[in-house]
Symmetry: C2
Subunit: 338 residues, 2 copies
DNA sequence: CATAAATGTTTACACGTATGTAGTTACTGA
DNA sequence: TCAGTAACTACATACGTGTAAACATTTATG
């Protein structure tokens, strides 16, 4: 070992164990015959020095880095936080390291990823251009898509995880319908950049599909979108309630929206859930502490994380990726009937 | 370039530009004389091929990886989510990649980090043993400590960021005192593992210090701790209110706790803030949507993130790290008077 | 016993990069 | 003209690893 406090290398192990470096390598990777005696000596030395192969050097030899990159628009919310936590947990168990990058639409973004030698990327972004994803795929980098929208134009061997949001929203709509609601409104995200959901967005699609299945005509009054912040949303909800068009249920794209909607509904003097039902999405802390407690849809973050890593391991091993389907869970609290 | 879809290397650039690999290297790193003409050719070729030096190979040569590791107990909460987001943002601008690891107290954890060749680690953990941190420092790995507690035994060149939580809590206590509260209670974390806060914990310390400054004697009734979950906390708060000991203010270690406290207070028929004040910590979504809206303390995640990367750059450049001090911001809403 | 086969070990090179050192050319001043 | 230097380029090596191929030794086979 060169310095007193430097990380030991294969060479250090070999010298101390009195064998060649190659033997050490074979023992570590367990892919060649090594005599039992030397193997034992090597393993003891490894233990003694706390040797661990340098993953950087290993990556350089093209043997994989055990490194996955998670790309999302914004990790600062309950859903992503928990997903990241689970991802980190299953990744750690499999020896993987998880890195993070916000989705950015410029070329540099792609070359950066490529130059990082990560083994795979997991993408959960509404804003990342599909041709960038395509480029990653074309560079034979294993890609796992968390389907929050329909990645229509992405071709080639990309793994897809259907998190169940579409059917989750559909169940929510059905639930409200069965509890008597006939005038549902879908609440879309608030944003300063004004890009609204469309049929590519699986939540929006789920809402529309289920409404159609129920034979309900969608109108401009069925959707609240285009609000730039939560105050605007609050006002929009109040205006909607006080308008001539009837409403008896709000299906919201996430809990944060749902809480604002709920507060607006209550502020208008309506009873929840008797007059109006509200349902959110995420099972966030907010949904648990707000009163009345918000009914919501919980995603299976742990399942998603496991699925992602399974798919990655498949792809890393050269297998063609499959699709994985997960389901959401309804969490019925106090803003829905029954 | 070897395959059609493979990442270009320095060699590809050199061949296409008609220069030697060394020249390319010098141009990229701008640390040697290169004729203007060749420099131009190289840069054009770099642009054309979208070449970017392989950070893995560069790291192997000991030139740094532009890679920082963020270690926390649990990223699944509002505070960490936003911090991570900011960290990712400033890191990206400086060319750094941010990775994630949950704090684990075993040797393997340390060797894993060391074998990853990261340039620095940022630690924000209440549970990671200090001797593990010490070991990272001893291996001359730049360490930035986010001070949520007093890392008393960590010696050597570790950078420290004081996020202002201690003075934040102190301000909160003072505020409640000045608004008339004379019987304050500190609400500690809920946990199944039952490790309570002590004077090492900066929030707890802040509470105790300010109480002492105000000349208020701390008793066993001044603290609610040891609850294993939020239901238990709810009951504990109700019991406390209905006991003989007076209460007129709760200072909570985070918003999630504060929301449960607030709901319990209201359930006991008390008026907030007239009878009892409640203050949280984090400025989370929950604090914004709960009614009455929760007064809370906001941390400067962006400032913390910037400070962390500044400190890291200092340490990477061989300078001895300094301390950084940030401040919290009081967000007064409806659960405190005035 | 000779030879083939199986087992165990080592040598040598490659991955993509940075850079010390040496080499080449062109320019300067005497 | 020649030495000396500045400006530029190239060679060779190293980082820590994986592994093909060569080599060495033991064991099995005819």
């Amino acid at each position: 070992m060169t310095g007193k406090n430097s990380v030991p290398t294969r060479k250090d192990v070999a010298e101390l164990a009195g064998v060649s470096e190659t033997i050490v390598s074979y023992v570590i990777n367990a892919n060649r015959y090594v005599s039992a005696e030397k193997k034992k000596r090597v393993l003891e030395t490894v233990e003694k020095l706390h040797y661990r192969p340098n993953s950087i050097a290993r990556a350089l030899k093209g043997k994989g880095n055990s490194h996955v990159l998670f790309i999302a628009d914004n990790v600062a919310n309950d859903y992503f936080g928990r997903l990241l936590q689970e991802l980190d947990s299953v990744a750690y168990d499999k020896g993987y390291l998880v890195s993070l990058m916000s989705a950015k639409n410029n070329r540099d973004f792609i070359t950066r990823i490529l130059s990082r030698q990560v083994d795979a990327v997991i993408i959960s972004s509404a804003s990342l251009a599909e041709n960038y994803i395509q480029e990653l795929v074309d560079n034979s980098l294993p890609v796992v898509l968390l389907m929050t929208r329909d990645y229509a134009t992405v071709h080639g061997p990309a793994a897809r995880i259907y998190t169940g949001i579409e059917s989750g929203i559909m169940s929510a709509v059905r639930l409200l319908y069965e509890s008597g609601c006939r005038n549902l409104v879908h609440v879309d995200r608030v944003s300063r950049n004004l890009h609204f959901s469309n049929r590519q967005d699986l939540r929006f699609r789920g809402f529309c599909n289920q409404m159609e299945t129920l034979g309900i005509q969608l109108t401009e009054h069925s959707i609240i979108s285009g609000c730039r912040d939560y105050d605007e949303l609050f006002s929009a909800v109040c205006a909607r309630i006080q308008s001539d068009e009837p409403v008896d249920g709000f299906v919201c794209r996430n809990d944060r929206l749902a809480c604002t909607v709920l507060n607006a509904v209550l502020a208008c003097g309506k009873k929840v859930p008797d007059d109006i039902s509200v349902i959110g999405f995420d099972d966030s802390d907010s949904s648990k502490v707000i009163r009345p407690a918000l009914s919501t849809i919980a995603m299976d973050q742990k399942g998603i994380a496991s699925a992602a890593l399974e798919l990655i391991e498949m792809m890393v091993n050269g297998q063609t990726p499959t699709e994985k389907h997960l389901v959401t869970r309804m969490v019925l609290r106090e803003t829905t009937r029954q």
